[in-house]
């Protein structure tokens, strides 16, 4: 059985930018192990030389002409309308370390 450890779950939680409570960690470790274990039946199938599918429409080259479409743009008020935490026309967040997380 593909067993996920609590460490694995904490790792994916960090990748996912999620904080887990101790209870959630317990629960998700069990549930995710069970679900991932269920995936193992895929290994029955030989997929060498099979191309992966990432879209089903078969479309190619759906491209846009290069022009500014100002009617689709938002005003500053509209852009900022989803939050109260703004300053001088900008979104404000708690001080970010220079490091990307």
């Amino acid at each position: 059985m593909a067993k996920l450890t609590k460490g694995d779950v904490l790792h994916v939680a960090r990748l996912s930018n999620l904080n887990l409570t101790e209870d959630e960690l317990e629960m998700f470790t069990l549930q995710l192990s069970k679900i991932v274990d269920f995936f193992s039946e895929l290994s029955e199938i030989d997929t060498t030389n099979i191309k992966p599918t990432s879209q089903t429409t078969g479309l190619i080259n759906i491209l846009r002409d290069d022009m500014v479409m100002s009617d689709r743009m938002l005003t500053q008020n509209e852009a900022l309308s989803g939050t109260d935490n703004t300053y001088n026309g900008m979104f404000r967040v708690p001080k970010v370390l220079k490091n990307k997380i």
Partner: protein, 468 residues
């Protein structure tokens, strides 16, 4: 003039035609229709928890405009419509049934919402669903479960729970949902409705909160196949925003059909009543000279594991934008199911696991598509169950996520392949709950599926009805 205020099951219009004939003959005004629907919504919503937001003001405004002109000559003139709460509506709260978007007021509207309203529809409001469309019962809503109008101890199906329940409760004539793994077809079946999962790339997804970008489709609910065709024709086509959507012409409608039944569909876990229903449907089709052909879809047994790798992977990506900076609350407000899928998705994409899970699933998906391509060389459509069981009770499957995921066993493969599927109502179970089936066709065969569905409903003399 007819008094619609206390319309009962017997005289509320259940089709677009009936609605528009009534309006054109001045039997009632659009404003009176709105009175009647709002009356029903206010009466039943507290108990069934179907609408999250009611847009009374917008509904009356639109109705007055329609009445003022008095022509009712657009495809959806006077048709009451409501939207699953993952469809963005400009200046109207849109929550995705998640507390993370509790107070989110969008700055723009979804293409399908615009198309429906441009076609004359009257918007009644926003419908409950599983949060972010994650679920098969409606029980994952942060605003409480929606109850099945046919029996409130049962789920209405999901994730488009409110979209189905609203029609079954006579609160709206048509509704929009989404179908990523069965989220329209299964609730349509559970609520005695027609539901469509269109060909991928036919209806724009712009403005619909994304779940799984390689699989999502806009779903539609109506009471009849005729109405579904009208809705489909309004919704289809390019909008310049969704780059996977192309225009397509209505194909020639076939005279003769071959209908395939896959042996793989009849397996452990399929409820006896559902199996018997499929058998009955097969006989009805045979009786109207539709040839039944045995086919094989060997890889459909892998559809659920493939689906629960690809879909959470894309969910983990699509839900990343909900960080509370530009809109909404912070990520702690995600419910358990969203967190589960986000982490599962991050896991199958993460370094060291991508090849074993995500890439593998995309390859088996190719095999699955080959199965369907082969089948459609032999048949024009495939008859299949939608849910392995009739509607189940609220709370029955909530403790075991994997068990809930298996609810998608007959539906997820269609999304992975991209082809259209029409869910049709047919009968009620011994327990008095609706059961139905689906007709799956090759890409762009919607109109032929409508034709098949119409022939079937004609044969069984199907009459739409509502529960309340």
């Amino acid at each position: 003039m007819q008094d619609l205020r206390f319309m009962t099951n017997n005289n509320i219009p259940l089709t677009i035609k009936e609605t528009q004939e009534g309006l054109k003959a001045k039997k009632f005004l659009a404003v009176e229709l709105v009175d009647a629907y709002l009356e029903r919504i206010k009466k039943f919503n507290p108990e069934y928890n179907i609408f999250l937001t009611i847009t009374e003001e917008e509904a009356y405004k639109k109705a007055r405009e329609l009445d003022k002109v008095g022509l009712y000559d657009k495809p959806l003139s006077g048709v009451t419509a409501s939207y699953k709460d993952i469809f963005l509506t400009k200046n109207i709260r849109t929550t995705a049934a998640s507390k993370i978007l509790d107070n989110y007021i969008p700055a723009y509207s979804a293409t399908s919402v615009k198309k429906i309203e441009d076609a004359g529809a009257i918007p009644l409001g926003k419908l409950n669903c599983d949060a972010f469309a994650h679920g098969a019962s409606g029980e994952n809503s942060d605003y409480g479960s929606t109850k099945n109008p046919w029996n409130k101890e049962f789920v209405p199906g999901g994730s488009s729970s409110g979209s189905a329940a609203a029609l079954a409760a006579g609160m709206s004539l048509v509704s929009l949902g989404s179908d990523t793994g069965g989220s329209t077809r299964q609730p349509a079946n559970f609520c005695n409705l027609v539901g469509l999962k269109p060909t991928r790339g036919v209806i724009s997804r712009y403005g619909v909160i994304a779940m799984s970008s390689s699989i999502d489709t806009v779903g539609t609910f109506t009471h009849t196949v005729d109405d579904m065709e009208i809705m489909f024709d309004v919704l289809k086509g390019e909008d310049g925003f969704d780059g996977i959507v192309k225009n397509f012409e209505k194909p020639q409608i076939k005279e003769e059909f071959k209908l395939g039944i896959a042996k793989e569909f009849f397996k452990e876990g399929l409820d006896r009543e559902v199996e018997e229903m499929i058998e009955g449907v097969r006989k009805t089709f045979e009786s109207i000279n539709i040839e039944i052909v045995d086919i094989s879809l060997p890889h459909t047994k892998y559809a659920v594991p493939i689906y629960y790798i690809i879909q959470p992977a894309e969910v983990s990506s699509n839900l990343g934008r909900f960080d509370g900076i530009r809109y909404g609350n912070n990520r702690d407000r995600f419910g358990s199911e969203a967190k589960r899928r986000i982490m599962l998705g991050s896991y199958v994409l993460s370094s060291g696991y991508y090849d074993a899970y995500f890439d593998k699933a995309q390859r088996v998906r190719t095999k699955l598509i080959e199965d369907f391509n082969l089948a459609f060389e032999k048949v024009d459509a495939i008859l299949s169950p939608v849910s392995p069981t009739p509607p189940f009770k609220l709370g029955e499957n909530t403790n075991d996520p994997l068990k809930m995921y298996l609810e998608d066993v007959y539906t997820a493969s269609i999304n992975l392949v991209g082809v259209p599927s029409l869910a049709l109502p047919t009968m009620f179970s011994e327990g008095g709950l609706p059961i139905g089936f689906q007709l799956i066709g090759p890409n762009f065969s919607e109109h032929n599926l409508f034709e098949l569905g119409r022939r079937y409903h004609q044969e069984i003399n199907y009459k739409p009805k509502i529960a309340l």
